[in-house]
């Protein structure tokens, strides 16, 4: 009888101390896990945002660079007009590019539209290169005509300062991506100095 009573006492359930210890350990583990998960989530969200910014800036720079390679003076243009081939305002960058094998050119316009950048070529449908992630974009056309031994040779380039920032999300501040570069219309420079 004594043994059975002792066994019953042992099987009666958990003591308050045991329950408190379990709750303490469980809370610690849940706390660590939720902190880790939240850290991972923020890391993923930031990574995704950075990926989008990199993709958009890469696409924009590659398209602009490709267009600048094809930038040229038209068949009927005078060489003296070289400094006016690339035109920039605060919101637009425009120039002419080859559009066929006969040497004809058509205008290409890069347009800042709020937080987006669009590309328009001739009568073709406009293409959005940066979609809502633009923070700032400055493009300035520079040119120089050399004197001395290189008399008459000309250099022209675009000074580009691009900053993209992801869309604001609660509790998440993605690092803006800033790219400063200079671009050279290689073919046009050769054409001017040829």
């Amino acid at each position: 009888m004594k043994i059975e009573q002792k066994k019953q006492e042992k099987n009666a359930g958990f003591t308050l101390v045991e329950v408190l210890v379990v709750i303490g350990i469980a809370s610690t583990i849940i706390g660590i896990l939720s902190a880790l998960l939240s850290h991972f989530y923020r890391g993923f969200a930031k990574g995704e945002e950075s990926g989008i910014l990199l993709q958009e800036s890469g696409m924009f720079l590659a398209t602009l660079r490709n267009d600048l390679i094809n930038a040229a003076l038209g068949k009927n243009s005078q060489k003296e007009q070289w400094s006016k081939v690339l035109q920039s305002t605060q919101d637009t960058l425009s120039f002419s590019v080859y559009c066929d094998t006969d040497g004809n050119v058509e205008p290409v316009i890069y347009l800042i539209d709020g937080k987006s950048v669009k590309r328009l070529q001739g009568s073709k449908k406009s293409k959005t290169l940066i979609n809502g992630n633009l923070k700032s974009l400055n493009w300035r056309v520079h040119s120089e005509e050399f004197k001395g031994p290189a008399l008459g040779t000309k250099q022209i380039w675009i000074d580009l300062d691009l900053t993209l920032a992801g869309k604001e999300k609660p509790g998440l501040k993605a690092k803006p991506l800033r790219i400063r570069t200079k671009m050279f219309p290689t073919r046009l420079i050769k054409q001017m100095n040829g």
């Binding site: 002792k6 990199l54 050399f146 991506l177 200079k182």
Partner: protein
């Protein structure tokens, strides 16, 4: 009876500690994987900026008239915005400022029948090494400029 009492005793502190140690050991690789992903994006971003700097340098060298492209090796100290390629040419570098990158240019001549047919341009961009470490990562772009005269 003693054995029965012992097995009904519940989980001991040692068992809990072993379980926690195992859980921690298992979570380390998971944490490392996530950190590696974040680091990967950071590296991609840095490489994109270095690649843009390399193209900037290569494009301006490629657009220079053939006769104004000097031959030799040019270090970061010689590649300065607004300064000529070298003393023999009036063409100037147009460089966007970036303190984290080291630039280097090598230009060599490729001759045939005594005449320079091409100039080989090699642009190398390295990251400024962290203190006490050697610069390992770099981006290299190469191109040929033909003598059209």
């Amino acid at each position: 009876m003693k054995v029965l009492e012992k097995t009904d005793g519940g989980i001991s502190l040692v068992e809990i500690l072993i379980a926690l140690t195992l859980l921690t050991a298992l979570s380390i690789p998971v944490v490392t994987i996530f950190s590696a992903g974040t680091r990967g994006i950071q590296i991609t971003s840095e490489e994109f900026i270095a690649h843009t700097a390399a193209i900037e340098l290569l494009e301006q060298l490629m657009s220079a008239p053939f006769r104004f492209l000097p031959v030799g090796t040019f270090t970061d100290a010689q590649i300065k915005n607004g300064e000529p390629f070298d003393s023999s040419t009036p063409w100037k570098y147009r460089i966007s400022e970036n303190q984290n990158l080291i630039r280097e240019v090598k230009i060599s001549e490729l001759k045939r029948n005594g005449k320079t047919r091409f100039k080989k341009i090699e642009v190398k961009i390295r990251w400024v090494p962290k203190e006490g470490k050697e610069a390992i990562r770099s981006v290299t772009l190469k191109s040929l400029l033909a003598n059209e005269n």
